[in-house]
Symmetry: C2
DNA sequence: GTCAATATGTTCGCTACCCGACAGATTAAT
DNA sequence: ATTAATCTGTCGGGTAGCGAACATATTGAC
């Protein structure tokens, strides 16, 4: 993919690892590239907050973001996860300015962003980008639906494995930087439960970890241990 | 319900209790009405099945449909509920033909339907209908997200109350026709647990029930008992 | 190197819920 | 009316996960 224009430099285009952007027809990407801004996405950064206007849509390259729902009592659960396969903040395409949920960076990295106004204008063209974005929104809906079921019916160990696999699919390499405390919040469980499951996974030789990072060392093992939810969502993402 | 024209008779238009249709600009509804077909929606009817093509989009009047996710082991959970405020099967607008979930009628009634091809053509016009449908899809996403959290963090009694309230909002009158067995499947819990919660709600005078139907007799009581998830989703639906 | 901060491992009592089983109650069918 | 089918209530053993507490290990700051 070579673009000679002044907008995105050759080098920048090469670093468009975000698959949603990457697979757009060349002319569409070119049009958007005028407005694409590279951004660092450090761990913990909020991309939007509950009921506050969503200012930009983000396209992660190697970062991973979580959509999180909160209770007024201060408990939280992750409802969805978005990485290089998609975009964050597409709510703004659906006649709203904000969401009751929030979105934060789980796994740090970088990405691109577009102002809300730009993505809305592009969306109104009702061209290829429009339908690609809608297709991604659907995948995300299916992911959230499956998490609804998973949260109800599956064990912490199964869900932890699924979470690690979903992250693993979205990062470069096998190392995932996060604490068990953090994981507990994402899974909506208490921290000691994560510890117990993590020990179990480590004893089986599936993962290895210490203070704030986890390394996947036997992915097939995790895939066998986790519930079918992982594959169901993955199949949906692979459907054309 | 009699249709004398190929269009909708005045009388039929009056019986369009589906709010998504009802609140469309008149010319949009007129255009669609050519293709709108009235349908009975009996309890248990499947509007679509997992990974099978979605043939029609349904607009319930007084019926209520559930989007259900299943495990291969035969367990199920409801992930979302759709009544007169929306439409069933909008997945077809998002570049897919089917969903890994299924959708069935919980509360019988009637409604309207459009062939997939018609709604897709209408959607491509990118007019008012387009954006109204997207707005509803967003509301549904928020509902599903909140259910993800609710399934993880809230008690059966809270969730049962929420479910009854959501149904109550979507039907005429105070009676809801369904068995506890059915409720257990929707909530993804075992049947005796529903029985215990139902007894509790009845003892407090919030509901009254017998063999296959439940009557809401103290709605404010239920609203006080349930978790905040109910109101969060409702607020989202009331947002313009 | 010392100390504070943070991350992790582990224990223990408790509770919500599961699962299976069964009994009683209501309705429908003949 | 009798029977069968369905729906509902309840019991009791078992377990996953909660919550609080505390011990230990690792890291970073000074």
């Amino acid at each position: 993919m070579v673009i000679e224009e002044i907008y995105l430099s050759e080098q920048s285009i090469l670093s468009v690892k975000n698959q949603l952007l990457q697979t757009l027809p060349k002319e569409d990407l070119l049009r958007l590239s005028v407005h694409l801004e590279p951004v660092e996405l450090p761990s913990g950064k909020y991309l939007y907050r509950p009921l506050e206007p969503i200012s930009h849509v983000y396209f992660p390259n190697d970062a991973v973001a979580s959509i999180v729902a909160n209770t007024s009592a201060g408990r939280s659960t992750e409802v969805g996860i978005i990485g290089r396969e998609g975009a964050v903040g597409l709510d703004v395409l659906m006649s709203v300015d904000s969401s009751p949920n929030e979105c934060m960076i789980q796994i740090p990295g970088d990405g691109w962003r577009l102002p809300t106004s730009v993505i809305r204008d592009e969306f109104k063209l009702c061209g290829t980008v429009h339908f690609r974005l809608l297709r991604f929104i659907h995948k995300l809906m299916i992911q959230i639906s499956q998490t609804t079921l998973c949260n109800r019916l599956h064990s912490i160990e199964e869900r932890l494995s699924r979470w690690l696999l979903m992250c693993h699919d979205r990062v470069d390499g096998d190392e995932i930087k996060l604490t068990q405390e953090f994981l507990a919040t994402m899974l909506g469980v208490n921290r000691p439960s994560v510890s117990i499951s993590a020990v179990s996974l480590q004893n089986r030789g599936f993962i290895k970890y210490s203070r704030g990072h986890i390394t996947v060392i036997n992915r097939p093992g995790l895939e066998e241990l986790t519930c079918e939810c992982f594959q169901i969502v993955k199949n949906e993402y692979n459907r054309v």
